[in-house]
Symmetry: C2
């Protein structure tokens, strides 16, 4: 069981003591507070007073969230030193990161609520499907999905210009560089493929090298650049490949999320 402490609308001294002890104890600390924030390091920022959600994790990660959106407005991925002090009616939380040198300072003018939990345990495995690696693995095992007669030479081949997802040889002995994308491919994907193709050409002078972009879709600008560079596009059905891959080597024998939703 995880011991939980909390404090509601405390005065300066009580709030300071609570946060200070919780941080020192390496609890997971969550606070809702009116505060201002300053940051200086790789960049620099200032945020005036407002109501925010503050999170200090046991590993020293610090997050400052505004009441909307996914992204924290300020943060520290991990900090070397976190201190809490009371000054002039403010509770000041300061978090310093060593490398790179970064400082985050939260000045709390009013602490609405704070919770501290000690000894949380989370050792579960996080399993991701439908990522680019899974799709590229499957395509490397089944290159015929891209084109009949392809023979895969390498997966994740290191080139001077980066890593090609798949390098194969086609029926006519030409190299085929395949760049796999899980989502709509934009200019960046085409440039990446182009770099890899050029890199392979440079390393194998005289060899014929084709480049194929395998993606569920591509922006029209990307398609235009692709064809002007003499590269090719193959549409792939990501969901279908995912189903095939799952059938081939099932990773977990549990009902699908959609089934789960239907049941519950």
């Amino acid at each position: 069981m995880a011991p939980v402490r909390h404090v509601a609308s405390p005065g300066l001294e009580e709030g300071y003591r609570f946060l200070n002890e919780a941080v020192a104890r390496r609890d997971l600390v969550v606070a809702v507070a009116r505060c201002s924030v300053e940051y200086e390091g790789r960049g620099a920022s200032r945020l005036g007073e407002g109501d925010r959600l503050l999170i200090v994790k046991p590993d020293g990660a610090v997050l400052v969230h505004r009441p909307t959106g996914y992204s924290p407005v300020n943060w520290q991925p991990d900090s070397h030193v976190i201190t809490v002090e009371a000054h002039n009616g403010f509770i000041v939380l300061r978090s310093v990161r060593k490398r790179p040198r970064e400082v985050l300072v939260v000045r709390i003018s009013r602490l609405y609520f704070a919770v501290a939990i000690h000894g949380l345990v989370d050792e579960a495995e996080f399993i991701e499907y439908l990522d680019e690696g899974e799709i590229a693995d499957y395509l490397a095992r089944h290159p015929e999905v891209i084109e009949e007669g392809l023979r895969v030479v390498r997966r994740e081949r290191p080139l001077e210009s980066g890593y090609a997802d798949i390098v194969a040889v086609d029926r006519e002995g030409r190299y085929v560089v395949i760049e796999v994308k899980r989502v709509t491919a934009g200019m960046e994907a085409v440039k990446q493929l182009h770099r890899y193709v050029e890199g392979l050409r440079k390393n194998n002078p005289g060899a014929k090298v084709r480049g194929i972009l395998a993606a569920p879709a591509a922006t029209k600008e990307a398609l235009s650049l692709l064809s002007s560079l003499g590269l090719e596009y193959r549409r792939i059905d990501v969901a279908k490949l995912h189903r095939e891959a799952k059938r081939e080597k099932p990773r977990s024998r549990v009902a699908s999320l959609l089934d789960f939703i239907k049941r519950s």
Copy 2:
């Protein structure tokens, strides 16, 4: 004042009611709970049981944080529908996003603590400085910092291969492509500059085109590649440019963070 409600180690029914009402009320909801998580949408993932921090924001953003690190393990940037239900001893929070279609399901087996705050107000302006755009703007206004006699032709010039930060002409009529970096430049910055220079050469056959990487520092690998590509490097003092830019158009008249730290 923001009304705050909380519940500690509630039973299934009490915990369910608390979360359900808080979500319906569009409170900021924070819960510490033992739970498992499933996600399906653009990607797909499964996370077994463990202690997590759950956040539901008034705008429908949902975050699931493990006890370490900056990134949420699962999330929903904004959801159309969030529901809370009680089933077979679990509290089930389900968040559905419309576009793209994505579903996030959190199955809570044990609720350690939950807080709900209503009516948070955060209207402060977030001021960032020292970003790449500001530095490039300043250099575009003051190209003499890079080299005497430069005449800026364009800022953010669209090229076939991307956007060059600055394109200028030097005293001898040669084009100068300038790539600005706010932090230590790595290989990617050099490759980017190289692509832009090649792009400009292609569009202006016969024209002489130089390429300058303007950054506070560069890795030695980057410098090596740079010189082998016939490109140039100019060290810039970001902090100094920031001071100059601020003097030119002051955004805020507050003491520096370092001063603040010294004082407190």
